[in-house]
Symmetry: C2
Subunit: 392 residues, 2 copies
């Protein structure tokens, strides 16, 4: 009797599972958990966008005369449904925890969600949303001393333009007015700008929290724009490219920072890190300028990008990795990180670089952010792992 | 013969004028001058929004399936026209020179223009556009030493919340590291926040330019959020209101600024100014706290708002204007300004306040910004006129 009941229970569970599978298959969607809360990245006073415990994003917008309104997030478009008052509402599938760019599509027009705060990424100012991460504590605004994030405007002769960077100074900077600080130059990725790290990157809160916990030394962080086009010679077209940022950083930004802030200006107190395009730039610039940098961080990118084939250290980057023992002596930290869910070609491309380091005996620290892709939670975690290892 | 030709010319001109009038009346629009240029407030790399020499704003957006797309600016909606590729384009009537908030309307949905930069005003983050002013030189980014604008985060026990202000420090602040500076507290208007003055207000560039020309003394400017809701007592609802900001400013912001920056902290080196709601707050707070403030600026607002009837100094603001000789002795500067095109009730409301000052012999300086309404060009000009009179 007891056995029969157990079997029946198992069958019921199996039946329920099959039914659920069929209903999911038929309707193309799973039941939505109705515990949505207004997102931390909603505009003040706005009810939407919202996020639920599954990580679904729900948006809502009045568009009485529209034929079709969609939520465009994570590379997919989700149709919203119109109610009788002309308000369209709907939600996405579950998103990874962390920060995502998104937009609305109204009758073919791709526009920002008027409910959300705006962020610069994907080559535009537009909507972004935060899906709360299980480990969000490390980047939250907490009851600790807070540094300042300063907008610094400077003239760049290389690009013949005014440029802007954000400079984080640690909380104690205003108190210890004779103390000098090490400097980390921290770069954004492709399609982003100097607002990436201080806004969606939360670099200030990550450092405030680390410094308050004595886990990182107080440091200055400079967040500049990685795009830099050389000023055209008279009668010649502009020569946009990668190399202008190196010139701007080495010849203009670093001297400007060292003269405007109380910095320790030797190589052992200067680091550079970046994400994606910024990681590529970091490796290119620091490896060529080891008289200026002793700490190097590459988040979700390497200088062989987008290639995935084996790297020959004899020729790669003009043979800069040939004398590995000398490099190991000189470099205090080479730190490489990525998310476990990074899309093609990052895993293989970063993997090829890692293999090259392993084969040559080049010393490095490696980190993988669990369950995140080529997005900001990966990079916040990278900074959180990387910063404590600096300037010690 | 000569006379006849003159008469014919006059008739031709009259005929042309009539024809033009008729065509304007028939089509409801004047011919558009085709000298549009991409706005300085367009997103990097975007071609639209554009502005022409008349001050018309032209926008363009792809919305292939839309039925109606409109540009919503200056309280009017302008229909755009769709081309064969599904791109909608069109322009507004001429706008006043200066800065204006606007939005697009797509089949009834009010959304930000994906081509524009975003600003906080009118109670939302959304599109804004700059119609170049004939006198824009005073607020432009120029080849002068630049101060820093710093984001300062602080805890407010009054509101039981983290708050944020922006603090402008003059260029020399980092050089003269023992010098102390006077402080101006500068407030935004209704529906705006602490980003108003440092972003669309261009307070930093206005002061950089004035200080470089020796027209204003180097000063610190604190730009905070004028909204402050007292933390609820246990079991009681929140008591939102005007008074909480006074408590936050006097008990929290001023002490925090004086302890975090090198300030001159006596009343003769502290001023407060604000626009619209911020002007109202400025008068309310400074007049009650003359032991703390000697310089007062009210831009496009007064504390009798929205009333326009005659003010009785015996009862107005609890009789604070009763002893005018004592006030005149104590207040170093009371400065009042507005735009000539301000809408109802501002001219009459500000006018009633001005009449009260005239009748009581209360000393003040008055300024009118020509051709501007209740918008940011009025307030930029006010700051430009007001700042040189401070702390001298």
């Amino acid at each position: 009797m007891h056995k029969i009941i157990v079997i029946m229970k198992k069958n019921l569970i199996a039946l329920f599972t099959v039914t659920l599978f069929v209903s999911r298959a038929c309707f193309g969607q799973t039941p939505v958990v109705e515990d949505f809360k207004t997102s931390t990245t909603a505009q003040p006073g706005k009810q939407y966008p919202q996020v639920n415990s599954e990580g679904r994003v729900r948006v809502s917008i009045a568009a009485p005369q529209a034929n079709l309104v969609q939520l465009d997030i994570g590379g997919k478009k989700y149709d919203l449904k119109k109610d009788t008052s002309g308000v369209w509402t709907g939600e996405s599938a579950a998103q990874d925890e962390g920060f995502h760019y998104y937009q609305l599509n109204i009758d073919g027009a791709s526009v920002p969600d008027p409910g959300s705060l705006y962020f610069y990424g994907a080559g535009r100012w537009g909507s972004g949303i935060e899906v709360p991460a299980h480990d969000k504590d490390f980047y939250e605004l907490k009851n600790v001393p807070h540094g300042q994030t300063r907008e610094k405007i400077y003239w760049s002769a290389t690009t013949n333009a005014w440029r802007r960077c954000f400079v984080y100074t640690p909380a104690e900077y205003e108190k210890n007015i004779k103390k000098k600080y090490p400097v980390l130059y921290l770069q954004h990725g492709s399609g982003e700008n100097e607002t990436g790290w201080p806004v969606q990157g939360k670099a200030n809160f990550i450092l405030d929290n680390l410094i308050a916990a004595n886990a990182a030394v107080p440091m200055i962080i400079v967040m500049d724009n990685g795009y830099a086009t050389k000023a055209a010679e008279p009668g010649k077209p502009n020569t946009p490219g990668f190399s202008a940022f190196e010139t701007v950083l080495i010849n203009e930004i670093i001297p400007m920072i060292d003269s405007s802030f109380r910095t320790l200006s030797d190589r052992e107190h200067r680091g550079m890190a970046g994400l994606s395009m910024g990681a590529n730039q970091t490796i290119q610039i620091t490896m060529k300028n080891l008289d200026k940098f002793a700490y190097i961080g590459a988040f979700s990118g390497t200088s062989n990008y987008p290639k995935t084939d084996a790297i020959d250290p004899a020729t790669f980057m003009n043979g800069i990795f040939k004398d590995v023992p000398a490099l190991n002596k000189k470099i205090k930290l080479f730190w490489l990180g990525r998310g476990t869910k990074e899309p093609v070609p990052f895993p293989a491309s970063i993997g090829a670089f890692k293999t090259m380091m392993d084969q040559t005996g080049f010393k490095y620290t490696y980190y993988e952010s669990p369950g995140t892709a080529h997005e900001w939670l990966t990079w916040r975690r990278c900074l959180y792992q990387f910063a404590p290892l600096l300037f010690k």
